[in-house]
Every structure is written in C-alpha cells, then in structure tokens.
Subunit: 195 residues, 2 copies
DNA sequence: CTTGGAATTGAACGCGCGTGCAGATACCAC
DNA sequence: GTGGTATCTGCACGCGCGTTCAATTCCAAG
C-alpha cells in the first residue's frame, strides 16, 4: 500500500489532495462525495483509501498542510527592523499569502467544525501560533511606545479578520492591483495602531 | 395548510425557523437533515413541508429574514450628527447586532453557497445595501475632509470584516465586556480612517 | 518469461437522505 | 354533536453516501 511504503511517507497523494482541496473549497466538505473526488482524480472511489484512512482525515491533511505552510513561509519572510517594519511585513505577507492560497484559506476557516475534536485542537493550536506572531509584534511596538493598543489580543484578532477579509472581495484583474491593496491596508493598519 | 392560509402569510413557522437556525449554525446546512430539524421541533419530518416547500427555501427564509432584520434595525438606529458620529454609530450597531444574532450572522456568510442562484442574488443585494450604508458614511466624511480614505469601497469591506470578526472570538463573560470591545473597535476604526 | 507485491477495480453493505402522500387526528364554528 | 378543515403521522420511494474487500491488473526485479 502507498500509505505504508513509498517515499511519500504519510503524505496523501498530491493529485488526491489537489482534487479534494478544489472540491471542498467550492462545494463544502459535507457536500462533496468521495466518488466526486475520485472522478476528479480519474480513479474509482475505493482507490482513495490507499491514500487516506477516511474522508475526515483527508480534510485534516489539507488544513494541517496549509497551516504548516503559513507558519513556515512567515518564518522565512524578511521582517525588516523594528515593530513598524515587522507590522508592515506581516500585513503584506498575510494578504499576499491568502490571495495565492485562496482555496486553502477559505477551507481553513469554513470547515473546522468537520474535524474531530483532536484534529480540531491541532489546527487551532497552529492558528493560535500564527496569531501569536502578530501579537508579539504589537507587544513589541507597545513596549517601545510606537504603538498605542489598549488590548493586543483584540487588536490581533481585529487585524487578522480585516486582512483575511480581502479574500471575500478581491478578484484578480479587478479595479485595484494586489500591490495597491496591500499598500492601502498597510496604511489603515498602521494608523489604527499607531501611538 | 399553514402556508396558504393563516395570519403568517408566507412566513415559516417560528418553531421550525428557530430549530433550523440553531442546527444549521451548529452543524452546517448540508450536515443537518430534515429529520433532525423535525425532531428538534417535536414533529415528524413530513410536517415540515407544511411550512417550507423544501430544505433550501428554509435556509433562504432564515438568511432573508436576517438581512431584513439588519437593515431595518440599522435604519432605526440613532446616528447622531455628522460622519464621525455616524461612523461610531455604525461600529457600535454592527458589533452589538452581530453579537446578539450570532447564529444568523454566522449562517449568513457560511451558507451562501447552498442557495440557488436566484436566492443568492437576493441575499447578495441586501448585503450590498448594508455595505452601502457604511460606504455612504465614509464618502460623506471624505467629502467633508474629516476622513482620509483612498478607496471607500475597500475601506468599507475592511471595516466590516474587522467588525464581524468579533463573532469568532468574543464570548459572553470573557475578559472584555461588550461595551469595552465596542469602545476599542471604535477607536481603531476612527484612527484608521481619520484625516 | 516468471513472479510477487503494489495499485486499482467493481460490486456490495447498510444506512440515512429529501420528499410525497394517503390516512389519521385535533380543533373550531355551528 | 357534527362537519369541515388545518395539522400531522407513518410509511414509502429512489438514491447516493462512506467504506470494505475479493478479485484483477499493472509493473519492475530476477
């Protein structure tokens, strides 16, 4: 079995993952059948169980991989010097990354309730770890007297919600370029937290 | 039949609506069966069809009623004088209303894809009408030189996303009171748009 | 060319789904 | 009490679901 041998270790087959991601994002986890995913891959339904123990684990794999992806890419992002630059880097990164991974981002906050409690807790922890990255920046700026934020946790949630919201309306080739959007959001965020 | 006679006109039975709202919000539209809703009401599944033509229309009724509710309550909200006061009123209203109607708000942006295109268009139009209320405030302030917003449409989406995000983390009896949350968000929003 | 394990099929399982409908029941005007 | 109508039950229908598994096909190593 592919699951126990091969060089993929415990990674779900790429073609299966891609199909599942696309369909889950478009129609919702509960509305997509294993047969539909299989058809997209060009295989019979039973063959999917060579790559995942069950449907729910397939969803978890997608969310887990996405969160790992977010965290590792943020870790590798240049952050400049000081809280101001770091905040700007975060805003730019979050918007850019969310737009290039729109389906995964969408899944990650729409389908959490379809995870088992154990899997949910894992994703939740990764999400919190990401939020903590932003909160640390705000705390630094607050300590340095650059930012005036009454509650860093609230400000963190507010900023992330605002940034993630870009996914709901931004369309490639629309009125505003991605660069322009990033710039405007940076201005708004900077003013919202500045001392 | 209740649907064709009675004083309810075409309004779905209140008990059915309440049960559907609660279950759809908790488990998702696709994951809730008509039998579960019926059980919650204390009735057999077939009886639900006295109140709704089908499952999808039940969802639409909930979303439509919510959007009407939002718009009529905002219309009745005192808005003070001038863009600054109006913006504060909007922020306060949106947070307060979203928190008291958490389930409906959640449904309204999670289950849009389960509507028929016609129903979707109706809800979308109401949503845009609501967004236009905020955008008009920003435009007024911009024209008056009170606000400095490069793009009122973008700012509208950013602010609404930020405010609606409160629903994802706020818990009654938590660290921050509702009044305090409203106050902090008002400060952030005001600073984000102020000239 | 043989062989053996990996990959996949195809059929089957039990189940719950949304919905329809004939018949039973509850309720209210007379 | 009787009649009629609003309400609801109980069952049925066809269907697609997630998942399993024996049987088959594929393919590289010997």
């Amino acid at each position: 079995m592919a699951r126990k041998t091969g060089s993929h270790s415990d990674i779900t087959g790429p073609r299966v993952r891609a199909a599942a991601l696309q369909l889950f994002a478009r129609d919702g986890f509960a509305a997509v059948s294993m047969r539909q995913i299989a058809a997209e891959v060009g295989v019979q339904a039973g063959a999917l169980y060579l790559y995942t123990p069950d449907k729910q684990a397939l969803l978890f794999d997608l969310l887990k991989a996405h969160m790992d992806d977010v965290l590792s890419h943020w870790a590798a992002e240049p952050k400049g010097t000081g809280p101001q630059a770091a905040l700007e880097a975060f805003v730019r990164f979050h918007i850019r990354f969310s737009l290039t991974r729109a389906e995964a981002v969408f899944l990650s906050y729409m389908e959490l309730r379809n995870l088992t409690p154990e899997h949910f807790a894992q994703i939740e922890a990764l999400r919190r770890a990401y939020e903590d990255q932003l909160e640390a920046i705000l705390e630094d700026g607050q300590a340095a007297g650059i930012f005036a934020v009454p509650d860093t946790k609230l400000a963190t949630m507010a900023i992330i919600a605002m940034l993630t919201g870009v996914n709901t309306w931004y369309r490639e080739g629309g009125r505003l370029s991605r660069d322009r959007v990033e710039q405007i959001y940076q201005d708004m965020v900077r003013r919202a937290v500045q001392a």
